[in-house]
C-alpha cells in the first residue's frame, strides 16, 4: 500500500478528479496548501514593500492505494494536472510514500480491502 501525495494547481483539481475516476480511484482527501517551488512567485506589495509572494495557493491530494493502483494513479494525476502539452512550472509534485496499514473506521477492516 502506498500513500500518494500530490500538490497541484487549484484550477486543475476538477481535471485530476475526472482522470482519477477513469482509473477507478474514487477516494481521496483534499487540502488547501501553499507552496514554494521553482515557479517564480508574483511580486507582491504591502505598504510599499515589494516582496516575492512565492507562496502560491496549491491543492494537496492524499490518495491511499494498493500497489497495482500506484502507476495508474500517478498517470492520471499527470494527465489531469499538467498545464497544456508541455506543462508549466508550478504544476506541482507527486510524492509516493510507503504505507504499512490502512483501517476503515466504519468497519474496522484492515489492509488492502480497507483502502
Amino acid at each position: 500500500m502506498k500513500l500518494i501525495i500530490a500538490i497541484i494547481q487549484p484550477a486543475k483539481l476538477e481535471a485530476v478528479k475526472e482522470a482519477l475516476t477513469q482509473v477507478e480511484v474514487y477516494r481521496l482527501t483534499v487540502m488547501d496548501c501553499q507552496g514554494f517551488g521553482r515557479q517564480k512567485g508574483q511580486t507582491g506589495v504591502h505598504r510599499g514593500h515589494e516582496f516575492g509572494v512565492n507562496l502560491l495557493r496549491k491543492v494537496q491530494l492524499q490518495i491511499a492505494v494498493n500497489e497495482q493502483f500506484v502507476q495508474p494513479t500517478i498517470d492520471a494525476i499527470l494527465a489531469g494536472g499538467r498545464s497544456g502539452e508541455s506543462g508549466e512550472i508550478g504544476d506541482g509534485k507527486i510524492f509516493v510514500l510507503p504505507m504499512d496499514d490502512c483501517i476503515r473506521i466504519r468497519t474496522g477492516e484492515r489492509g488492502s480491502e480497507a483502502i
Partner: protein, 495 residues
C-alpha cells in the same frame, strides 16, 4: 439538467413550493387583472404627483385646495418623512440580525441562516400586507377589544392623505411591517442549526401574519391592554418579548443541537464561526435602534415632539452602553475573561430593556435599566445552558428576558401615565402591577401559540432535520451549497 418533479421523499418541500407558486401565479394573475382595469379605475385611485408640478408655492395652494392648513401641511410633511426614514433604519436591522446570527453559528449553517433572514422579511412583508396590518390596526370600532380585522392593507386606497393621524398610510405601513419582521427574525437565531427550512418559512408566516399582529393590537391597536393603561412605547414586550418567547418555544421543541451536550450531559460550547460578522451585526442593530425607538414617537413635528424624539435617542444610547459595560464586567468576573459575545449581547440587552420606556424615564433610570439588563443577559444565558435549552445566539436572554425586564422597568422607573385631564392613572404600585400582568399576558400568548405551531410542525415531521443532515450542516443538506467553498473548490472545480 432540470427536473420538474421532486422525488416522493421531498413531499413537504413540494407542498411549500406549491404554496409559493400560488403566490407567483397570483402575482401574474393580478397583473393581468390590473392591466385590464388599469385604464379606468386605477387612474382614479392612484394620483401621480409629478415632481415639476410641486415646485414654488404650488404645494401650499394645493394643500389649501385640499383643505389642509399650512400647519397641518408642515406637520404632515415632517411626520411622514421622518417616519419613513426611521422605517428604513428599522429595516436595516434585518441586516444586523442576519450578521449576528451568522457570526454566532457554525459555518456549515450560514446559507440556511441567511436564507431564513431574507425570506422571513419577504414573506413577512406579503403576509403583513395581506392579513397582519388589518389585524393589528382594525380601527376604533374595536377599541379595548381582543381581536379585530379591518380588511387587508393591499386593498386600501393608501393614496389620500390621512389627516386624522397626521402622517401617510404608506409610511405607517412601512414602519409597522419593519417591526413585524423584527419580531419574526428574532426566532431565527434560537432555532438555528437544526430546523427545517420549510418549517421555518411556515412559522415565520404564522408569526407575522397572525400571532404578532393580534397581541400587537392589544396594545398598539387600541386593544384591551392599551385600555388598561399598559405602557410599551416601542415594543420591549410587544415586539422583542414576543420574538424571544416564540424562540424559546422553538428551541425547547427542537431540543439542543447534536454535540451541544456530551454523553455525560456536560455542556460543550459550539462557538460561532465569525465574530466579526456578529460584531458588525450588533453595530448595525445599535444604529437601527435609532429608527426603532425614536421613530415610535410617530409625530416629530413641533419643538415638543422633536424634543421627545431626540430625548428617546439619548435614553436608548445610555441604556445600550450601560448594558454593554455591565454584561462584560459580569462575564469577566464570572468567567475570568472579558467575553466579547457577552458584551455584544449586553448592548442588545440594554437596548431591548429601554425600548418600552425610553420616552418616560430619566437619564439615571436609563442607565440603571441598561445595567440590570446587562446582568440579566449574562445570568440568563448561564441559566438556559444549565437547563439544557440550546439557544445558539441567546435570543431568549436578550429579547425574551430583557423584553420582560423592559416591561417591568417601565413600571418601576417610568413616569406614570395620565388621563386626558392630566391626572395620574395609577399610583406607582398600580402602574407596576398593570405592567407586570400585561407583560405576562403577551408572553404567555406568544409562547403558547408558538408551542402549538412548532408542535404541529413536529407532528408532521417538518420541524427538525435528520441527524445526518444536521452534522453535514444545513447549508449543504437543505440548500445544496457551502457558504465558504475552500480554494480547492472555489478554484473552479466541483465535479
Amino acid at each position: 439538467m432540470i427536473q420538474f418533479f421532486r422525488a416522493p421523499g421531498t413531499s413537504p418541500r413540494s407542498w411549500f413550493i406549491a404554496t409559493l407558486l400560488v403566490v407567483g401565479m397570483l402575482g401574474v394573475g393580478m397583473s393581468l387583472a390590473s392591466v385590464a382595469s388599469a385604464q379606468d379605475e386605477q387612474a382614479a385611485t392612484l394620483e401621480v404627483i409629478e415632481a415639476p408640478d410641486a415646485g414654488g408655492d404650488a404645494v401650499v395652494e394645493e394643500a389649501a385646495a385640499a383643505g389642509v392648513t399650512a400647519d397641518q401641511n408642515f406637520e404632515y410633511t415632517i411626520n411622514t418623512l421622518i417616519m419613513f426614514i426611521c422605517a428604513v433604519l428599522v429595516l436595516f436591522m434585518q441586516a444586523g440580525f442576519a450578521m449576528v446570527e451568522v457570526g454566532l453559528n457554525s459555518s456549515k449553517n450560514t446559507v440556511n441562516i441567511l436564507a431564513k433572514n431574507v425570506l422571513d422579511l419577504s414573506v413577512g412583508v406579503i403576509l403583513f400586507l395581506v392579513v397582519g396590518y388589518g389585524l393589528m390596526y382594525p380601527g376604533s370600532d374595536y377599541e379595548g377589544g381582543y381581536f379585530g380585522f379591518s380588511g387587508s392593507m393591499v386593498t386600501r386606497d393608501v393614496d389620500a392623505p390621512n389627516l386624522d393621524t397626521g402622517w401617510s398610510n404608506s409610511a405607517d405601513f412601512m414602519f409597522q411591517v419593519a417591526f413585524a419582521a423584527t419580531a419574526a427574525t428574532i426566532v431565527s437565531g434560537a432555532v438555528a442549526g437544526r430546523m427545517k427550512f420549510v418549517g421555518y418559512l411556515i412559522y415565520s408566516g404564522v408569526l407575522t401574519g397572525l400571532i404578532y399582529p393580534i397581541s400587537g393590537f392589544w396594545k398598539w391597536g387600541g386593544g384591551f391592554l392599551a385600555e388598561a393603561g399598559f405602557q410599551d412605547f416601542a415594543g420591549s414586550v410587544v415586539v422583542h418579548a414576543v420574538g424571544g418567547f416564540a424562540g424559546l418555544a422553538g428551541a425547547m421543541l427542537l431540543g439542543p443541537r447534536i454535540g451541544r451536550y456530551n454523553a455525560e450531559g456536560k455542556s460543550v460550547p459550539i462557538p460561532g464561526h465569525n465574530i466579526t460578522f456578529a460584531a458588525l451585526g450588533v453595530f448595525i442593530l445599535w444604529v437601527g435602534w435609532y429608527g426603532f425607538n425614536p421613530g415610535s414617537q410617530l409625530t416629530y413635528a413641533g419643538w415638543a415632539n422633536a424634543e421627545a424624539t431626540t430625548y428617546i435617542a439619548l435614553t436608548t444610547t445610555l441604556s445600550g452602553a450601560a448594558g454593554c459595560i455591565v454584561a462584560l464586567a459580569t462575564a469577566w468576573v464570572l468567567f475570568g475573561k472579558p467575553d466579547l459575545t457577552m458584551a455584544l449581547n449586553g448592548v442588545l440587552a440594554g437596548l431591548v430593556g429601554i425600548t418600552a420606556n425610553c420616552d418616560r424615564v430619566d437619564q439615571l433610570s436609563a442607565l440603571a435599566i441598561g445595567a440590570v439588563a446587562g446582568l440579566i443577559v449574562v445570568l440568563g444565558t448561564i441559566l438556559l445552558d444549565k437547563i439544557k435549552i440550546d439557544d445558539p445566539v441567546g435570543a431568549f436572554p436578550v429579547h425574551g428576558m430583557c423584553g420582560v425586564w423592559g416591561g417591568i422597568a417601565t413600571g418601576l422607573f417610568g413616569v406614570i401615565p395620565t388621563d386626558d385631564a392630566g391626572a395620574n392613572l395609577f399610583d406607582r404600585a398600580g402602574f407596576i402591577w398593570v405592567q407586570a400582568y400585561s407583560t405576562a399576558i403577551i408572553c404567555v400568548w406568544a409562547f403558547s401559540t408558538m408551542l402549538i405551531v412548532f408542535g404541529v410542525l413536529k407532528a408532521i415531521g417538518m420541524l427538525r432535520v435528520s441527524a445526518e443532515e444536521e452534522q453535514a450542516g444545513l447549508d449543504i443538506s437543505e440548500h445544496g451549497m457551502h457558504a465558504y467553498p475552500s480554494d480547492a473548490i472555489a478554484g473552479g472545480a466541483i465535479h
